[in-house]
């Protein structure tokens, strides 16, 4: 199915979204801080992805992609991956911090 990878990413977004409302993680609420975090992550790890694609370290199966390809032969889903997964990670981190703030002292 061409939407497989895209749906997997959508499931990650939908699955972690309740954390924002139930545990008040305030990740999406601080959208400027979120963007400021995502920009360097996308640049660094996106560059790594482009290098790996260029060197044929890994490649993507067109069967599971919607077919939108960005410069450097980067599938759209990969760019979204670098936005979605870090955001989910921040939500998990802030969810733990919301429940157990004392676990975040050295």
């Amino acid at each position: 199915m061409h939407a497989t990878y895209l749906l997997l990413l959508a499931a990650c977004v939908v699955g972690t979204l309740p954390l924002e409302f139930v545990l008040h993680t305030r990740v999406y609420a601080q959208w400027l801080r979120l963007i400021g975090t995502l920009v360097p992550v996308v640049l660094v790890f996106g560059a790594w992805d482009l290098l790996a694609i260029h060197q044929h370290t890994w490649g993507y199966n067109a069967k599971y992609l919607v077919g939108v390809t960005l410069p450097g032969r980067l599938p759209l889903e990969e760019l979204l991956f670098f936005l979605v997964i870090p955001t989910c990670s921040i939500l998990a981190f802030e969810a733990v911090r919301a429940r157990q703030p004392e676990w975040f002292r050295e």
């Binding site: 801080r33 975090t37 360097p40 370290t57 997964i85 981190f93 676990w103 975040f104």
Partner: protein, 104 residues
Amino acid sequence: MNYTLLAAIGVALAIATDAAVLRTRLLRQRGFWVAYAIVLFFQLVTNGVLTGLPVVRYDADRILGLRIIYAPIEDLLFAFAMVTITLSVWVWLGARVRRPRRQR
């Protein structure tokens, strides 16, 4: 350069970012590791789908060949680096935003 070496460098850079560059010191906090364990669990599921179908295919000559639920071990290192750097920048930015307000 092969994926194994790059992934190891990625982990080293992530540790350096947290310990020395941004000095967020997340790796010393229990909460970070609990959050990372949660992320790791869901990574094994999603990465398993991506590498099991496979959506992503790897050059066998550029990885060790050690796999956990279809995912090359290098993917776990890549993700650790990405998650650690993400959270380090997130926490660092949070401290930067709050600090000036406190000084007033």
